[in-house]
Amino acid sequence: MDYAEFSFQAMVVAAVVYLFAGAAHTVEWAAAKNATAEPPKKRRRVKVLVGAAGGRDEMGDEAGLEARAGDGGARRETENDRLRVDQFGRVGLAFTTVAFFVHLAAVVTRGLAADRAPWANMHEFTATSLALLVGAYLVMNLKWSMRWLGLFVALFSSIGLGLAVTVFYVDVSPLVPSLHSTWFMFHISAAMASGSAFTVGAIASVLYIVRERAERRGEVRGYLAKLPDSRAIDTFAYRCAAFAFPMFTFVIAAGAIWAQYAWGRYWGWDPKETWSLITWAVYAAYLHARSTAGWRGTPAAIISIIGGLLFWWNYVGINLFVQGLHSYAK
């Protein structure tokens, strides 16, 4: 078996294992149906001080994210329930970790097979940026116990890798010459990193909306009780976008510089460029919305979700549909 074949097989395996991870997290969610929200966590006490006062809930410190995530969740369930829920959560995480290493091996061998960085076409870009996304999730999980993202990360990766090995698959081939450019390297690697962060942010925004509604109705039960409170999720979503936005700005700028070298025009309104600009404007709108009265909260979260969808539409949809539309004359 050569590298290319190994890479392909490993990717299929990873997609399946992510699916298992998703299934385990689904069971975790289902098993947590009896969980109820904890009373708001008290402010962390300042060690040397007596009688530390903590009026309001935290403004999205890490503490907020940890509040009900992972092991700390669902205190009022019976011990048995708690153990069972936790067990499935751990199984999900274990599957995700295994899948991630297989996935990583697949991406690396793909690069070895092609003798270059594995991000020259849709198949490679999707596989590599998903590896980045899962890697970031695992690291964040170690640092801040963010297992509450697990179901979505696993399902998203499973579907994404599934598409990568079917619809997007192409055999290994060298780069076309116009891609032989340092700027292309900057452009594409920043695109993958910002795309992963936008995606995590959009997932968090979905969870924010669900949790926030439940909080308003006073029905924070089941799995929702295991999520951090809506404010902390919102802050997390914002941080993802705030991290990704300057990087995405750089992606567009590096793309323009590269286009200038390759074609002598830094901006030509081709569909890809146009949709990048649209995505960028939507994220700028998101950042504005978060500081505009009447747009905070759910409306802003919806914009963040639209932004995440736009990112993938621009990468996948444009290649599959719009280019086809454009070349109808041929």
Binding site: V46, M59, P177
Partner: protein, 511 residues
């Protein structure tokens, strides 16, 4: 920032203008305009655009005349230069400027001002702590102040209290970013106004000198004059192309190298330069890119009288990735009748059920595949003829004895005799030609600088974390509190804790 909602009709014109201005420069308007701009950009990516692909627009118009007419009326074939797109863009620009100017003043004032007064109730703050203490209040505050200064806070000391703030660079970055956007747009406008871009197809072995007549196509800004064309000339000495030979992506381009001899200005010493993809030739502020290439079959047409009526390479235009190319040979001087040919050049030719086509972009088995026409001589009309299509007015197609149209395939060196002694055509060989693009974008450096500054400003604006901390010291009690003014920060509780510890100092430790 939103204006008050007084009914506009009750206002004087001046008040009304001010009302409009407040509305236009509100954050809400900026938000709406950003969305509107994003929406407005969509049709241009789905409908063919005249500046990018005029041929597809024409085809769309012939295929869908009615819908095409509606699109045309709405400017949907020219979205990015249409009045409504420009209107959104201009409104956004005005809103941006209107937003930046007052904020600059506010920021300048904030820079000179001291941190805010200490709030009366510190325990109402998002993070607060208190502790019993003893000892000198002044030295406790000294310790707190030292700690705050060390952590780059700006500190204001009141009686028995400290107010501290840091993160002023956030707003600075925000202003820099928004101002850079304005400069970015200025740079683009500058380029669009003074720049030009044109293409010229040049046979290998021939030259190009930068004058208007040498362009096949040129587009330029309103302030462009002929004098802006840098007086350089380029001779295309050699062109090498390599294509993928393997099974995957067969025929995909691999490497292009265009050897040129450049004279930067009249009288200058010629220099050699190899243009490759991503490596354009630069002459002063002008860039010359290799945009495409094709083949020009070298043909000789003899007329019925036996004279050479046409000879030379004729550029054929590539139609697909394997360089199946189409073109014409128009021998208007042939006598007794003029002759015309149209058809294909195939670098690696084959004819199958899909018709004549090329299987590989390199010239492995060059063939031409032509149909021929004849007609009475035509008087020179002075109307320029299109060199890529044959005007068949007054021409008749040659046919075989059975009545079917005459079509013939030729390999290099072959000669075909036309029926009834009307002449012959010979396929002598082929040459390559390249499409050069010359572009001058005077505002580009300025635009690039704006982008770099914008990204730096953006990073400051998003990653600098403004924070306020307060300390109040009574005879027996310490209160500390903190507030983050942006969501980008973590560790407020830690910092409040550290500050409290440092204010308490050694004394309390030993308690």
């Amino acid at each position: 920032m939103t204006g008050d909602k007084t009914r506009a009709s009750a206002l004087t014109p001046l008040e009304f203008a001010r009302f409009l201005w407040t509305q236009l420069t509100s954050m809400r308007t900026a938000l709406s305009l950003l969305f509107l701009g994003a929406l407005a950009a969509i049709p241009g990516s789905l409908i063919p655009q005249r500046p990018v692909s005029p041929a597809q627009v024409d085809k769309f118009l012939t295929d869908n005349p009615r819908l095409g007419g509606v699109y045309e009326a709405l400017g949907l074939f020219n979205v990015y230069t249409s009045p409504w797109f420009s209107a959104i863009y201009l409104l956004l620009l005005i809103s941006l400027v209107g937003c930046i100017i007052p904020r600059c003043f506010v920021y300048a004032r904030a820079l000179r001002a001291e941190p805010v007064a200490v709030p009366s109730r510190l325990d109402r703050m998002p993070v607060s702590a208190s502790a019993p203490r003893s000892g000198s209040a002044a030295s406790a505050l000294d310790r707190g102040e030292a700690w705050l200064k060390q952590h780059r806070y700006r500190v204001r000391r009141e009686r028995g209290a400290l107010s501290a703030e840091r993160g002023y660079l956030r707003e600075f970055g925000n202003l820099v970013f928004h101002i850079s956007l304005v400069f970015l747009l200025i740079g683009i406008t500058w380029t669009v106004t003074f720049g030009y871009r044109g293409t010229s197809n040049v046979l290998v072995g021939q030259g190009f000198s930068n004058t208007l007549t040498q362009y096949d196509e040129i587009s330029s800004g309103p302030a462009f004059t002929d004098a802006d064309l840098a007086p350089f000339s380029v001779v295309v000495e050699d062109f090498e192309a390599q294509f993928e030979q393997g099974e995957v992506n067969t025929g995909q381009p691999r490497e292009f190298a265009l050897l040129t001899r450049v004279v930067d200005e009249p009288g200058a010493q010629p220099r050699e330069y190899v243009i490759r993809l991503n490596e354009p030739l630069e002459v002063r502020n002008t860039q010359i890119h290799l945009l495409g290439h094709g083949y020009a079959p070298q043909m000789t047409v003899r007329d019925g009288d036996g004279n050479i009526a046409w000879q030379g390479p004729s550029m054929f235009m590539p139609q697909d990735g394997n360089l199946t190319s189409t073109g014409v040979i128009n021998a208007v001087d042939a006598r007794p009748e003029r002759l015309g040919f149209e058809g294909f050049f195939l670098p690696t030719g084959t004819v199958d059920e899909m018709g004549p086509r090329s299987l590989f972009p390199d010239a492995l088995k060059p063939q031409v595949f032509l149909t021929a026409y004849h007609g009475p001589p035509k008087h020179e009309t002075g109307v320029p003829t299109n060199v890529h299509t044959l005007d068949k007015n007054g021409l008749e197609q040659f046919s075989r004895p059975d009545g079917s149209p005459l079509a013939f395939k030729m390999d290099v060196g072959e000669t075909v005799e036309l029926p009834d002694g009307r002449g012959t055509i010979t396929f002598d060989g082929y040459q390559r030609w390249v499409r050069l693009q010359v572009s001058h974008q005077p505002g580009m450096g300025f635009t690039l600088a704006s982008v770099i500054v914008a990204v730096l400003g953006l990073c400051l604006s998003l990653f600098v974390r403004p924070r306020r901390l307060w300390v109040r010291v009574d005879d027996d009690r310490l209160d500390v509190a903190g507030l983050d003014r942006a969501d980008a920060r973590t560790g407020l509780a830690d910092e409040v804790e550290q500050l409290a510890e440092s204010v308490l100092g050694e004394e309390t430790r030993h308690d």
